[in-house]
Amino acid sequence: MPDSRRDFLRGFAAVTVGAAAVAPAGAAPTPQAAVSPDKTPRWAMVVDVAKCIGCQSCTVSCIYENAVPEDSFRTIVSTYEVQEGDRAAMVMLPRLCNHCADAPCIPVCPVGATFQRADGIVVVDADRCVGCAYCVQACPYDARFVNHGTQKADKCTFCAHRVEAGLLPACVESCVGGARIFGDLDDPKSTVSKLVAKGDAKVLKPELGTRPHVFYLGLDDRLTGKVEGEPTLWHPTGRETHA
């Protein structure tokens, strides 16, 4: 299956541009096709932070793909300037919903609108959500928000609509550096399961026991939790206020 945009493009070479709008069934195995019909996949993502160049293509393509309203993000690449001694480097950390196996956003929902599908994707039933924002509070990763347009809880869905159509999530497909790799963690042949099986992939805030299904390669331990750093440069007032 096409686990990242590069793999995908390799298989895509023989397909016409017009066919890009539909599942490229003839060109490459789709995420679904890579899974045996009687077995539900467990979708997961591996992010190789060394390959991320911080271009925010994923951020923008997600906004367009999912009609994310202004000032909100389902995914964003947190960017840090890290200085150690006389060396400085930019570090990128793409963030999105982790589709946690033990997701704290699910049990708090008073009306059961947030739930986990059999394939591991955590979704919000927009017809049921009352917009109480309890899930927004409960997510330890600030991955959720209340959509100003729909007034309902919103978050990354791993582009479930695309995955069901045999496509990659928009952020994976648009990733310039090939840093985002998507696939079935239950399929031992998939790239994600091979990378995770190596044992050096990290997750964010592992101490909370949420069992995230977004894994990071090459991530410094000091960035896996709440990042203790100087706040963002574009702070509107440059002041800290809350009261």
Binding site: G54, Q56, D71, F73, I76, S78, T79, Y80, E81, V82, Q83, E84, M90, R95, P104, P107, V108, C109, P110, V111, G112, A113, R128, C129, V130, G131, C132, A133, Y134, V136, Q137, A138, C139, P140, Y141, D142, F145, V146, Q151, K152, L204, L208, R222, L223, K226, V227, E228, G229, E230, P231, T232, L233, H235, P236, T237, R239, E240, T241, H242, A243
Partner: protein, 366 residues
């Protein structure tokens, strides 16, 4: 190693000032109701006037609180889903059942406790008197019924305190909320606010008595001392690293100047009314009443709005500026306006305090 955050997301506050209003009003209501019990349900005659004022506060707050809660939902028209699709693993879902049981119980208890007063005052031929007679439905004292309804309301009032505290406390994602002391702090500050509100209501109704003021002062002193004890325990557990949870809670805010200012403010908001209660200068009751309300409101504002400005993954604090519209200042003003309307309604219906003092015959007998 130094880390400079160059790009990151900033998340909006999603539990709006409406939520602060709800937790404030419902806390005041339950505490006010509990304070009314000795005078109205358990026959402590010297506390009857105080109990009546506490109950008026409890009623006004209890009737407005659910409106504020509804307004905090981003989809208020879907509130019925709380009843058709409850997820009983969520404290919030339980709250949806506790609220009507509590408010219903409170109304019934108020009716049973005050119907004697209403009947006695409803002897005239004017519209209000006729309405009073109608509501009193006879008006014979019903101490047993009052006690039964008080019992029901105590259960659901305590469940309201429990669920509001637990709902916030279980959020592990926010270390500031995730301490077992938080529900107790909510309760202690609710009693401070309710005692303060009762002092103010007594003055607004022209129903001040030394005995009533003394009860309010005692209740508020106890609540303020409890708040201080809880605050010190919270701080000590965190600063001395005696409890991981508290250390995390303290660490999540301690380094920020805005929170240091908040801590000083909170200490002053607790110490000042205590000092005034001790010295009792002229006009102390007005001031202490307002300061009591301030302590209860400010605690909730700090926990909810302040708590949501602490990023879960990013550095620094998110910026919050109070919007002027319905999700900000207008919401706060609107809920206070609604409170005032309900208060005027209740006090218009209830007999004039002086009249009810000279007509004690219809007060429920023990």
């Amino acid at each position: 190693m130094t880390i400079l955050e160059v790009v990151n997301v900033s998340r909006d506050v999603t539990w709006l000032p409406w939520a602060v209003q709800y937790f404030f009003l419902v806390g005041l209501s339950v505490a006010g109701f509990l304070l009314s019990l000795p005078g109205l349900a358990f026959g402590a005659r010297s506390q009857r006037g105080f109990g009546r004022n506490a109950l008026i506060g409890a009623l006004a707050c209890g009737l407005v609180a659910p409106v504020a809660l509804l307004a905090d939902l981003h989809q208020p028209g879907r509130f019925w889903r709380f009843y058709t699709n409850p997820n009983l693993g969520s404290w919030m879902a339980w709250g949806a059942f506790f609220i009507p049981c509590y408010v219903g119980g409170l109304l019934a208890y108020a009716w049973a406790a005050l119907r004697g007063d209403l009947a006695a005052a409803g002897q005239g031929d004017d519209l209000v008197s006729r309405l009073r007679r109608l509501i009193a439905a006879g008006g014979a004292p019903a101490p047993r019924l009052t006690k039964i309804l008080a019992g029901w309301t105590v259960v659901f009032g305590l469940l309201i305190l429990l669920y509001t505290g637990m709902e916030t406390m279980v959020v592990r994602a926010r270390p500031l909320w995730n301490t077992p002391i938080l529900p107790l702090q909510f309760a202690a500050t609710a009693f401070t606010g309710a005692a303060g509100l009762t002092l103010l209501i007594a003055r607004l109704r022209g129903d001040t008595t030394h005995a009533g003021d003394a009860v309010a002062a005692r209740a508020m002193t106890a609540a303020l001392l409890a708040t201080i004890a809880l605050g010190l325990a919270w701080f000590a557990l965190g600063i001395f690293g005696l409890s991981d949870i508290h250390a995390r809670a303290l660490a999540s805010v301690a380094g920020h100047r805005a929170w240091q200012v908040t801590a000083v403010w909170a200490a002053a908001a607790t110490a000042l009314p205590l000092l005034l209660l001790w010295l009792r200068p002229p006009g102390w009751a007005w001031l202490v009443g307002l300061l009591g309300l301030h302590a209860a409101w400010m605690f909730r504002w700090t926990v909810f709005i302040g708590g949501q400005t602490v990023p879960k993954t990013g550095a620094g604090l998110y910026v919050y500026q109070l919007p002027l519209g319905h999700d900000g200042l207008l919401g706060i003003g609107g809920s206070l306006g609604l409170w005032l309307f309900v208060f005027v309604l209740i006090t218009t219906l209830l007999p004039d305090p002086v009249a009810s003092r000279v007509r004690p015959a219809l007060a429920p007998a023990e």
